[in-house]
């Protein structure tokens, strides 16, 4: 299928069908975890466009998620009955605007300076919520009501499955749009700017504009993810958007395979699910509480390190190499004359 519109639409619809069916197979808690992966993926996909494709390193995406989450929570504080789509859209817009402002500053910064500036954002922004506690709820944060499924789905439809559906829909729409963007002419310009700015500029590409564009797109994704995250946790508090969130997003896109959206899917799955799985494992081993409490974090670190050592180009890169190897091995028996004459 050469037409990107058809190709991306088909993949997203197929994924939607499979994932929705899975939410019926799994229990409510697993549905809740699926929603978590989908939400995390939205932010990771945005970061993929910025860092993986356009080459701008951001250590501050957790802070951008916070902007989305607080936009949602503040709106709901004033208007608790708002249909969910409005706070989500408001979060996308407000974070997109914030992304434009940060992007203009970022377009003047390179490498470690950009990393430092976004790091400052990640550390500093949550403190604003603490400082202006009367507005943002301080360390306690602002509560967010659990989204309830429409009555048409039946009285016993679990909230977790409904949230998973919303998160899956948002994630797949994000995937569809970003896949179009990255595979299109804009994607090529984003890569060109990352590869060689002077050559891009001489080719008529406005480097600063492309860099700001990447920041806005990436921030809008982070805003949507932050808004959904607020619904997922049921609370928006500074502790939810610390530096660790930014670093987890970065680990997800690197482990998955930098610059690839499918890599962002795999990385998000690993980063969100690994802690749950490892905790379950540690719980079943009858360890002393000291060890059991710390084992997940230690194992999590080990998993990340081993993954990077084994697959330097990320999981997606490893799968791609495997696929090529398999293709070559499958072809070989059919064309023996080629190998003997070559």
């Amino acid at each position: 299928m050469r037409n990107p519109l058809l190709r991306h639409a088909t993949v997203c619809v197929a994924l939607a069908v499979v994932l929705v069916l899975l939410t019926y197979v799994f229990d409510a808690f697993t549905d809740y975890k699926i929603a978590g992966v989908a939400i995390f993926f939205i932010a990771a996909a945005g970061l993929t466009v910025l860092t993986g494709v356009n080459g701008q390193l951001s250590l501050g995406h957790g802070a951008l998620m916070a902007i989305g989450a607080y936009t949602t929570s503040l709106l709901l504080k004033e208007q608790p009955q708002l249909p969910m789509i409005l706070p989500l859209l408001a979060a996308i817009v407000s974070t997109g605007v914030a992304g434009a402002v940060i992007g203009v500053a970022a377009a003047r910064l390179r490498g470690p300076y950009l990393a430092g500036a976004t790091l400052a954002l990640a550390v500093g922004l949550p403190q604003v919520a603490v400082h202006y506690g009367s507005v943002f709820g301080g360390n306690q944060g602002l509560p967010v009501p659990v989204p309830t499924p429409p009555s048409a789905l039946g009285g016993d439809f679990p909230n977790e499955r409904w949230l998973a559906w919303i998160a899956i829909a948002a994630a797949l729409i994000t995937l569809f749009l970003l896949a179009n963007l990255v595979s299109g002419a804009t994607g090529a310009r984003l890569r060109a700017v990352a590869d060689d700015e002077a050559a891009a500029s001489l080719a008529g590409i406005n480097v600063a504009r492309i860099q700001v564009l990447a920041f806005v797109v990436s921030a809008a994704c982070a805003g949507l993810a932050g808004s959904l995250f607020a619904y997922w946790v049921g609370l928006t508090a500074p502790s939810g958007f610390g530096l660790s969130v930014s670093l987890q997003l970065l680990s997800a896109i690197v482990i998955g395979g930098l610059g690839s959206l499918s890599g962002a899917v795999l990385g998000s799955f690993l980063v969100v699910m690994a802690p749950f799985t490892i905790s379950d494992l540690a719980g079943n081993l009858n360890l002393s509480s000291d060890v059991a409490n710390n084992l997940p974090l230690a194992l999590y670190g080990v998993v990340l390190i081993v993954t990077m050592l084994a697959f330097p180009r990320g999981i997606q890169g490893a799968l791609f190499s495997l696929w090529r190897l398999a293709k070559r091995n499958l072809r070989r028996p059919q064309a023996p004359t080629v190998s003997t004459t070559a």
């Binding site: 179009n180 590869d195 060689d196 002077a198 050559a199 500029s201 001489l202 008529g204 590409i205």
Partner: protein, 265 residues
Amino acid sequence: MCDVAASLPAPASTSLDVANLSVHFGGVVALDDVTLRVDQGEIVGIIGPNGAGKTTLFNAVCRLVSPSSGRITYGGRSLFDHRASDLAGLGVVRTLQGLGLWSRLTVLENVATTARPRAPFVNDLLALPSAERTRLQARDDAMRILADLGIADRASAYPSSLPHGVQKRVVIARALMMQPSLLLLDEPASGLSAGEVTELTTLLRGLRERMGIALVEHHLDMVMDVSDRVVVLSLGRVIAAGTPAQIRANPDVATAYLGEQVAHA
């Protein structure tokens, strides 16, 4: 704004005029009162020893460095009013000594990405049919240029996997995709085999009818062979200008650069 400029027809007598141009880097004088002109349909060779200011001259024309004084106009328009990224839209296209190929784009994408006009960002985001049409058109145009340069079979390769000579052709293909009316070539012959230099010479002669070409090059035989006029820079100053024959006969040039044996040849 560059798109507006691109839509304007180029004036018939489009020429690059550099007048009294000086560029200082701190206390270092890189260019000192340089004046030169490149007309449509001519190839102007710019030669000089290392550090003479040849690449700085190109950088100043392309708005990559800011001159301390002087004037640069193209087709009567001051280039100082434009950014580096506007120049391609004005028809001023420059290649880089370090090639500047985009390593994560294929050869075809390297060429097609410079196409104009461009689909708006939102069309790309939604993969609208118009964006796809623009993209396919650009690929077709790029493919044709690659075929003209004899490297169509390398279209899907990544630049780093190609021999140096092929990479240099991709650089020229990318420049031609921008439909230049003035082409600034920074050492296009460096690292090429003798056969490849001959091919390049033939190519430049073919291009001359359609555009003005300024050529910074160390390969003197090639410059003398292909250029209509030659400008010699030394320590940031123009020390000679004229036809290749005049330059060969100029004793100042021989002393500064060419060496005695050439002067006596």
